[in-house]
Symmetry: C2
Subunit: 210 residues, 2 copies
Amino acid sequence: MAAWGERLAGVRGVLLDISGVLYDGGEGGGAPIAGSVEALARLKRSQLKVRFCTNESQKSRGDLVGMLRRLGFDISEGEVTAPAPATCLILKERGLRPHLLIHDGVRSEFDQIDTSNPNCVVIADAGEGFSYQNMNKAFQVLMELENPVLLSLGKGRYYKETSGLMLDVGPYMKALEYACGIEAEVVGKPSPEFFKSALREMGLEAHQAQ
Amino acid sequence: MAAWGERLAGVRGVLLDISGVLYDGGEGGGAPIAGSVEALARLKRSQLKVRFCTNESQKSRGDLVGMLRRLGFDISEGEVTAPAPATCLILKERGLRPHLLIHDGVRSEFDQIDTSNPNCVVIADAGEGFSYQNMNKAFQVLMELENPVLLSLGKGRYYKETSGLMLDVGPYMKALEYACGIEAEVVGKPSPEFFKSALREMGLEAHQAQ
């Protein structure tokens, strides 16, 4: 294998995923992936800029970073690009008042958002919150809108926890799309806009990042 | 409007839907749609053959017919084509042992089916049974199969209850399709096979039925 310097010629920064790259989630908070704490420390000692780009939508950035620091990772909240804060920007820009179908762990990210008289639905990885009752409520809100808007924090199919594979937000996004005959707007990876905002926060162009 | 005789020239039988045609379901068993009890009685007095073709998958045929009779409809179990019995035939023919993601009300239709060591998933309108936990279990069963088979009893988007619109099985079928990267086999309307089996049971060809 070529040395790092050679393989990364022209690269000035690295965007890292979190779940499945730094750690696997699960009961009791999950576990670091072997070697990842040291690999991150090594990256941080290098000349490369480091930023984290995650579709994590069950936890606020504060909770996520706190958990990662307890697992030994060198990471701070300002280094994380996540879909919930990106969604809040969109909601404010477009005057949207969401009905939130989200995990309680991420609710604090929406504290400053007006949720009265909703004119859109925001769906995130709600985990056990994806009850029939909650899905039906989101569906009914959408069906009552003249122009139904569905924002989805990512569209992942599933993710791995220490206990096994878990359904992610994507399947539930597809369910609402089909039920209402609409197409969701995805905030998060793989949306190019989302990657671009992470690069902007690093002060880099796409060809300078890996 | 033309008289019945003229409009139905050449027609020897009528296939009737049940939910949304004879009655709207809901709390306390639902309510007949205005005029439907009399319309059915009139059809039955005519020369036309009458059969019921439903995607109802929350109730066994016995329970469905009992409920309709209490609402005043002239209907018997043998006159009903429904997806659960049609699915049981398919399971037996193909040696499939299902993991059942279904409503408790229809479970008795699967009493004679071997559900040990499942090699497929059967999904029906499970209502409140569409919990995250139950959806995730069905997903995990499919992901462990070399050739995942998903049978869906209908693919309706939603239906109307007296209390409002309710998500049907279709959105949840789409969720599992997306999560696993597979396509479900639909048993029930609008599958041509399903209509054909209803016509066979009436002894009619497609052009003879309305």
